[in-house]
């Protein structure tokens, strides 16, 4: 079963991610039973059909890199899992998507980074609001994945306000200043 790092722990994961292959339409693509992440377009077109599954916590939505939470702002409260795809780890749009979901739209469910997810970005992803990190199944050995968890905590007291640190450093701690 694929692995997922959830809140800093490695767990087995049985969510299936549905993508639209060429020629498949959002309106009638077949969805598997069980826990399923569907593309945003599928959710938008089949919301009435899928809402009961979402409310039971077995269906979530994933955003492509160019998609954002404003597209389904009213639905966010019904979703317990949202994923954001990183088509390439150098495509940083997902960091803004996560930041907006957590700090503007108040999304509190699982926020999962999928796609080209690498340990060297774990810290920034976590601070942007991802509490679930899913590298490609073939990227890390079990041992490497265990070692990778440490990267989440690369920086202990960052300067910025973010999803994990609601206040910037200058409001979070008392800094001594020049006289000290």
């Amino acid at each position: 079963m694929p692995k997922l790092i959830k809140n800093g722990r490695i767990v087995s994961d049985d969510w299936q991610i549905v993508s639209l292959a060429e020629g498949e339409a959002a309106a009638d693509v077949a969805l598997p039973a069980g826990r399923t992440l569907v593309p945003l377009a599928v959710w938008q077109q089949r919301r009435d059909e899928l809402a009961p599954r979402a409310e039971r916590g077995v269906l979530g939505v994933w955003f492509a890199a160019g998609e954002g939470p404003e597209d389904i702002a009213d639905d966010l409260a019904r979703l317990s899992v949202i994923a954001v795809d990183f088509p390439k780890f150098t495509d940083g749009r997902g960091y803004s998507t996560a930041t907006l979901l957590r700090t503007r739209y108040g999304y509190t469910g699982e926020l999962r980074a999928i796609g080209d997810v690498l340990r060297d970005q774990f810290n920034y992803m976590t601070r942007s609001g991802f509490d679930a990190l899913q590298p490609r199944a073939d990227r890390y050995t079990d041992g490497q994945l265990e070692a990778a968890v440490a990267s989440i905590a690369d920086f202990t007291q960052p300067y910025q306000a973010s999803a994990t640190h609601p206040q910037p450093l200058f409001r979070r701690v008392a800094r001594a200043g020049a006289k000290a």
Partner: protein, 561 residues
């Protein structure tokens, strides 16, 4: 000068540990070249022609003497005994082996230095006026604001994988000394009618392949909102900037595509959510950071120093240096000195380990232990007593750092070019040297007056050739090095982009071309008119005719036509 507290130091130490592990995994084959690339770039490490190029950040150009000594030590221990100072107030080493970079970073961290985000598609080193705190025309000291921005930008989780690099500069004086309009964000510090500090915000400037001057999107953003407003710009850019084409990925292309009005509207929309949020600056934080940038313990001195005047009258060489390299200071009895890194025969911006040690000594002895780098690739000692100018000049002269050419033709701004850089199409240093050798006569240089020559080895424009009075760009034509010449570019308050005069030239022609441009200017100039003003008054035609009309270049013109 800012000094790290435990939080700054802990973050930096954690960064060093992070990169050491990344390097270890890379060398062990666990981190592929592609995966390692952005990570090493964000730590200043390029793979270059001969060896990696390692670019160290000097935030807003300020260096303490112990930091200079550390750079000298690194140059001797890990490199070839010298360093290169860049147009973005960074320091580059060209010969350090890959494996030692984590050790160099660890050494730098002991003096509160780093190579954070000196490359990569992130927020780069923030530049400010080299004369901050001492210039008579200063409105507000830009350094606390530059430091506040540095902290916000450093390891910022949301903006580390932008479509492209992102550069911010701050100016806070009547005269623009940072070339605000060529930055992704140019922040112009101001006071409103009530004396409140705020920022005029320019956006979308940049050089490179498509040079564009930045445009104003806000005339006054109150200081409390500095971070939230910049964040709004960055978020709009991160989400909507182009990622499909590296040549169209800078924010300037997004601003052009949307139009300034639409871009402003989108930023305001975004800002409306973040404004007054947690990132709003507090008075306490501004006071805390500002306390590091108070005036040093100046002595009360008379505005004049008799022995100083005596030396000027007695010693022509000293007088020439004072005229070109010494600048008025806000405090009576003090002056700011520019040490020239533009001696003929030395690559512009290069400085040896011995020279760095000497500058550190002079900083301690004459200028409160601090030095500054300028974007023209020279070094400033900002707070020197008039009575110390003569002994400082003697020392600097002996060390080859007193060439009296600041602002003159031989004060050439130049990237490392094809001698070192793997991006370059052509060499740039030999062009600078040929020009410096041709214009060796100091009297002639003084007669020519103020002029800026900028040389870039490729379209990345590290030599800022677009804004040079004479700009030289290295281009590749079927594997050969050629040089395109533009004139009429300018930095400062009337920043302008130069116009290309015609087909490009071979390296051997370049000194002739510059000489012809200068001769044309000498013939046509009005009294007290600078080269660039003559170009703006007459247009490029007379210059073009002179350069291409001459016999030896005609053939080339036809060949390239």
């Amino acid at each position: 000068m800012y000094r790290y507290d435990e939080y700054d130091q802990q973050l930096l130490d954690e960064r060093v540990a992070q990169f050491r592990d990344q390097m270890r995994r890379h060398l062990a084959g666990e981190l592929t070249d592609d995966e390692f690339r952005p990570v090493r770039l964000q730590n200043g490490l390029y793979i270059q022609r001969h060896a990696p190029m390692f670019r160290i950040s000097v935030p807003y150009g300020h260096l303490a003497s112990r930091q200079l000594r550390k750079l000298a030590h690194l140059a001797r221990t890990y490199d070839r005994g010298y360093a290169h100072f860049t147009t973005r107030t960074n320091v580059q080493f060209n010969w350090s082996p890959l494996e030692v970079i984590p050790d160099m970073l660890a050494e730098l961290a002991t003096v509160q230095m780093h190579a954070n985000q000196t490359s990569g598609n992130d927020i780069r080193n923030i530049t400010a006026d080299a004369f901050a705190g001492v210039a008579a025309d200063e409105i507000v000291d830009p350094r606390p604001w530059a430091e506040i921005l540095r902290q916000w930008a450093t390891y910022n989780p949301e903006f580390a994988y932008l479509p492209r690099k992102f550069k911010i500069a701050l100016n806070a004086a009547t005269e623009d000394r940072v070339v605000l309009r060529v930055y992704d964000i140019g922040l112009d510090l101001k006071r409103d009618a009530e004396g409140n500090i705020g920022f005029r915000v320019l956006v979308g400037g940049g050089l490179g392949r498509t040079p564009i001057l930045g445009e104003e999107i806000e005339s006054f953003v109150p200081w409390q909102h500095l971070i939230t407003y910049c964040e709004a710009i960055l978020r709009v850019y991160n989400r909507y900037g182009r990622r499909d084409n590296v040549w169209k990925a800078r924010i300037k292309i997004l601003v052009k595509a949307l139009g300034v009005e639409e871009f402003r509207w989108q930023v305001r929309e975004e800002w409306a959510h973040a404004k007054d949020g947690p990132n709003t600056l507090t008075e306490a934080e501004v006071e805390r950071v500002s306390a590091y940038f108070v005036d040093p313990q100046y002595e009360d001195l008379p505005a004049d120093d008799k022995p100083h005047h005596h030396h000027i009258v007695e010693n022509l060489a000293f007088a020439a240096w004072v005229k070109r390299n010494v600048r008025a200071h806000k405090k009576p009895g003090y002056a700011s000195v520019t040490l020239s890194l533009k001696k003929t025969g030395i690559a512009p911006g290069d400085i040896s380990a011995e020279q760095m040690d000497l500058v550190a000594d002079w900083a301690d002895r004459f200028s409160f232990g601090e030095a500054r780098m300028t974007h023209e690739q020279n070094v400033v000692l900002a707070d020197v007593k008039l009575s110390d100018l003569y002994p400082l000049w003697q020392l600097a002269r002996d060390a080859g750092l007193a060439t009296p050419n600041i602002g003159l033709l031989t004060d050439i701004i130049c990237c490392p070019g094809g001698d070192f850089c793997s991006l370059a199409n052509a060499k740039s240093i030999p062009i600078a040297q040929a020009i410096q050798e041709r214009f060796d006569d100091l009297d002639y240089l003084y007669d020519i007056g103020e002029i800026e020559i900028n040389i870039s080895g490729c379209m990345n424009s590290c030599g800022h050739h677009h804004v040079g009075h004479i700009g030289v760009l290295g281009v590749d034509k079927n594997g050969e090095e050629w040089y395109q010449v533009s004139i009429g570019g300018e930095q400062g308050n009337s920043t302008a982009l130069g116009k290309v005069i015609g087909p490009s030239f071979a390296r051997a022609q370049m000194a002739d071309v510059v000489e012809k441009l200068i001769e044309t200017y000498i013939e046509l100039r009005h009294p007290d008119e600078r080269f660039v003003d003559t170009v703006h008054r007459l247009g490029i035609d007379p210059f073009k005719q002179r350069v291409y009309g001459s016999e030896q270049l005609t053939q080339r013109k036809v060949a390239n036509a």
